[in-house]
């Protein structure tokens, strides 16, 4: 519905649909009421730009005279343009220029200006486009074309360790908010020219640059085309984060499960690209989207591939176990405690009965209360300023863990169950996949408290059925486990050593199935052969 309304909005404003993302000029034209050519009268040109950028205090017009006779104007946006560079490499050489020199724009670029990137512009729409990207526009008297000089420079955040995906072993740099820094990080890892980075602009007002990254020859062409076409369908006023795109291109928009991977790590993105997946980088956010994914992708951590395979395999099993626990544990506890008391070992039940004796609430209310307050604590912990965070977590731990039990509001076993559930949901390497499981645990608790284990099983069946119907860009979400694909188990149930992972995942990497040459297992006598 949202989409429909947006398109109506567009119809009113843009008359014609954009046929393709490649034609950025046409897109820019939409912003300018009268997209016309530059004239050869400088004042008129500056006036038009001034009208477009009326009440924009950050647009700077620098008038000067070249060689004592030719008037020129330098237009740039303060803050995203390198002012020092303009002074040193543009204005200074121009002011010093001799009268005998050729001052046509293309000649200036070749002879006078020491700027790496410069383009001739002849339309206002181009000027606006370049200005908004940090270029400086040089307009000269008696010239119907100007120069866009690549002087973009703005404050960037330094490369930092990704906050949401930490690891002990592995590269520590994460993506930043700057798109070009992010693509450069990918290029630094995958040096092959087959790494393709297609750029397009999305967002009526934000004009956000988006890069579609894939490796030609590994990613299936049909997949790339599908992602591209889905991206081109987006018509929105602004894109501030990759989450906008994620919701606009995913297969099942109502599902609680994320169908695109979002990652802050260049190494994870590169690994996905090498598996034949496609990455979508968005200007202004360190979170990169990867598609298609399966449920197992959500449960694979970057570190799995860097440490010894035994440990990775065991860690994975632990992770699988606890991700199921994070979904079902409180529900199982409630079901068993209120319906199937005979299933609990006798002495344990007696201990539970003893600790529940003072609790005034039914187990269901108790569970709901604790789970909700845990979620509240978690949410508060994320939003809190760092300075108060520690105080709140101590209060939370004390109030919930200790005082509530001592006051007889909740029983100690329930606190243990909630704590285990909470911890286990954070064992899922992809934070947002964990959120889905944490959310689904509430309906399961309700089912378990009304129908017991029967209800719990019904709920689980419903979830599994839903997951079976999910597709991520055509790839079944539960693939390789719903219908066993034995070769896939090397990277799902196990993490096979690298010398055994000879093939790419069969669902995304079929175009170029062989990853490496076989028989690479290190052997002692191999050197002598």
């Amino acid at each position: 519905m949202t989409i429909r309304r947006t398109s109506r909005y567009f119809d009113r404003h843009v008359k014609q649909q954009r046929p393709s993302h490649h034609k950025q000029d046409e897109q820019s034209r939409a912003e300018i009421p009268h997209d016309t050519e530059l004239t050869d009268r400088l004042d008129e040109n500056v006036g038009t730009i001034g009208n477009i950028y009326s009440s924009c205090s950050d647009v700077i017009y620098r008038h000067f005279v070249i060689a004592g006779s030719i008037r020129a104007v330098m237009i740039y946006i303060e803050g995203i343009t390198d002012t020092n560079g303009i002074e040193q490499f543009v204005i200074a050489p121009l002011l010093k220029a001799e009268q005998s020199e050729d001052f046509r724009p293309d000649q200036l670029l070749q002879q006078t200006l020491s700027v790496a990137e410069g383009k001739a512009v002849s339309r206002f729409s181009q000027c606006i486009d370049y200005l908004s990207r940090g270029y400086a526009i040089l307009l000269l008297e008696h010239e119907a074309s100007g120069l866009a000089l690549g002087m973009a420079k703005w404050e960037k955040r330094a490369l930092e360790e990704p906050a949401a995906e930490v690891g002990i072993r592995g590269p520590r740099e994460g993506f930043t908010e700057t798109l070009r820094v992010n693509t450069s990080m990918l290029r630094r890892i995958i040096k092959s020219p087959r790494l393709k980075l297609e750029t397009l602009q999305l967002g009526e007002y934000t004009q956000t640059s988006i890069v579609l990254a894939y490796i030609e020859g590994i990613a299936e062409a049909s997949l790339v085309e599908e992602v591209r076409s889905r991206l081109c369908r987006i018509e929105i006023d602004g894109i501030l984060e990759s989450g906008y795109i994620e919701e606009l291109i995913e297969d099942s928009p109502y599902s609680p499960f994320p169908q695109l991977l979002n990652t802050e790590r260049p190494d994870v993105t590169s690994a996905c690209l090498l598996e034949g997946r496609v990455a979508i980088l968005v200007e202004g956010t360190p979170f990169v989207l990867v598609a298609p994914v399966t449920m197992f992708t959500m449960l694979q951590a970057a570190e799995d591939y860097y440490q010894r395979f035994w440990i990775s395999t065991i860690t994975r099993w632990l992770r699988y176990f606890f991700s199921i626990a994070s979904l079902t544990l409180p529900a199982v506890y409630v079901a068993v405690l209120t319906f199937h008391q005979e299933m609990i070992p006798g002495s344990l039940l007696i201990s539970m009965a003893a600790s529940r004796e003072a609790v005034p609430f039914p187990a269901f209310i108790e569970a709901l209360m604790m789970e909700v307050s845990f979620e509240a604590l978690r949410e508060a912990g994320v939003r809190l300023p760092k300075q108060v965070g520690a105080a709140i977590s101590i209060v939370g731990a004390l109030v919930i863990g200790q005082a509530a039990v001592q006051a007889g509001l909740v029983s100690a076993p329930m606190v243990i169950v909630v704590a285990i559930t909470g911890i286990s949901s954070f064992m899922i390497p992809r934070y947002f996949a964990g959120t889905a499981l944490r959310m689904l645990r509430f309906p399961l608790i309700i089912l378990a408290s009304t129908l017991g284990l029967l209800g719990l099983i019904l709920g689980i069946i419903a979830i599994v059925v839903h997951m079976c119907t999910l597709r991520s860009f055509g790839v079944p979400y539960l693939s390789s486990s719903s219908t066993p694909i034995w070769s896939e188990f090397k990277d799902t149930i196990f993490r096979a050593p690298w010398w055994m992972m000879d093939t790419r995942p069969s669902l995304t990497g079929t175009t170029n199935y062989t990853r490496q040459s076989p028989n690479q297992r290190p052997e002692q006598d191999r050197g002598e052969q």
Partner: protein, 393 residues
């Protein structure tokens, strides 16, 4: 959006089916009276008296946390009725919480009731869905309810003590399920563990003790006909092939005792019908390690070993022969289910003779074949604490 609106009635239906169902089985743990042991006795008027041992949750916390003195951990409530379920429904009136059988792992039946017949009362235990099939069943010497009021010094409650004893497999342990099978098998006799209350040491409070398994109660036609002593029970367990972690002590050549532990045995019953003559071979393979040697014999010496093994063999044979002999002639109760063994091997003859098994059973010629080995002599080879010269080689 329209899709969601379409789904709304469905969601409404689902929600109401979950939330409006009137018959919730939900019972909070706080509303349950956890029964750990049920005693069934016969009243003088011929009715049934049931006594339940119920956990008191408030008093379960360990000493360090609880404080405020030592409360009783369990309480006994009893009530009479025409049959078990009648008595129990009356019992419920005296207990503010719902009686819960799911954790009742011991059923104790009074001797008086057992002697008048167990079969008719057994129906409740297998019909009612809550009692566990794997609960242990015992026959108590004297009124069964006495055992419920004991305060065991080691275990949490007397039910736990009995259950642990039955699990040790030193004495007989029979579950509800096994009993219900035994009640229906070819031979009309079976054995259940026989429990009595251990006499507490002099300094102890008379209630601070446990019930323990003293022997075996024998049943024929569903009624208790007598009890076997501890030693006789062991013979029964040999034949029933339930010997597990068990000590055998014998006197080789009458020169002091040798004990073997653990003794493992494998018993096979081989029936044979030749004409009119029914016979049965009990072949036993037994092996054990020396645990104690009070004689002057050196068990490492192969010659001596043969002597020891022979003594071991004789000892085992004697026990079993005595035991079977007693069952055949004194009690005429086929608690070993020889009837089933014959039935399986000779179904046709069995069909003919199954009516007069009572007269047939004592006449069966039983021969016992024992193959016995002593496997390990233990950490010392010569008898410990004895000078080398005194050892017989």
């Amino acid at each position: 959006m329209r899709r969601i609106i379409k789904l709304l009635p469905l969601l409404w239906l689902l929600a109401s089916s979950v939330l409006l169902t009137s018959c919730w089985d939900r019972t909070e743990l706080n509303d349950l009276a956890l029964i750990t042991m049920l005693a069934i006795d016969r009243t003088e008027e011929g009715g049934i008296r049931t006594s339940a041992q119920i956990i008191i949750p408030q008093n379960q916390r360990s000493g360090a946390e609880g404080g405020g003195g030592e409360g009783k951990k369990t309480i006994m409530r009893s009530e009479q009725g025409m049959n078990i379920s009648d008595a129990l429904s009356r019992l419920q009136r005296k207990v503010p919480r719902k009686l819960f059988w799911g954790q009742c792992k011991v059923f104790l039946i009074g001797e008086d009731l057992a002697k008048t017949g167990l079969k008719e009362h057994f129906d409740f235990l297998v019909r009612h869905p809550q009692p566990r099939e794997r609960a242990y069943i015992f026959i108590s010497k004297g009124p069964a309810s006495d055992a419920l009021e004991l305060i065991p010094p080691i275990e949490r409650n007397s039910s736990e003590a009995l259950r642990e004893l039955a699990q040790l497999q030193i004495s007989l342990g029979v579950t509800l399920e096994e009993t219900s099978i035994m009640l229906k098998r070819d031979s009309d006799a079976f054995a259940l563990p026989y429990v009595t209350i251990l006499k507490p040491s002099k300094s102890e409070d008379p209630l601070k003790t446990i019930p323990y398994i003293k022997g075996t109660a024998m049943f024929k036609n569903g009624r208790m006909i007598g009890a076997l002593s501890e030693k006789e029970t062991q013979g029964v367990m040999w034949v029933l092939n339930e010997i597990e972690d068990y000590t055998v002590t014998f006197n080789p050549e009458g020169k002091g005792a040798v004990s073997l532990k653990p003794v493992k045995a494998d018993v096979k019953l081989k029936p044979l019908i030749k004409g009119d003559k029914w016979s049965l071979t009990v072949s036993i393979r037994a092996e054990g390690d020396i645990e104690e040697n009070n004689t002057q014999l050196d068990p490492v010496d192969p010659k001596i070993q043969i002597v020891l093994e022979q003594a071991f063999k004789d000892s085992v044979r004697k026990r079993i022969e005595q035991c079977i002999n007693q069952q055949q002639h004194r009690w005429n109760a086929d608690i070993f289910d020889f009837a089933g063994v014959f039935h399986r091997k000779y179904p046709k003859q069995w069909e003919k003779h199954k009516g007069d098994w009572d007269s047939l059973f004592p006449k069966i010629a039983v021969s016992v074949q024992v193959e016995a080995h002593i496997l390990r002599p233990g950490l010392v080879n010569v008898p410990g604490g004895m000078p080398q010269e005194e050892v017989i080689h």
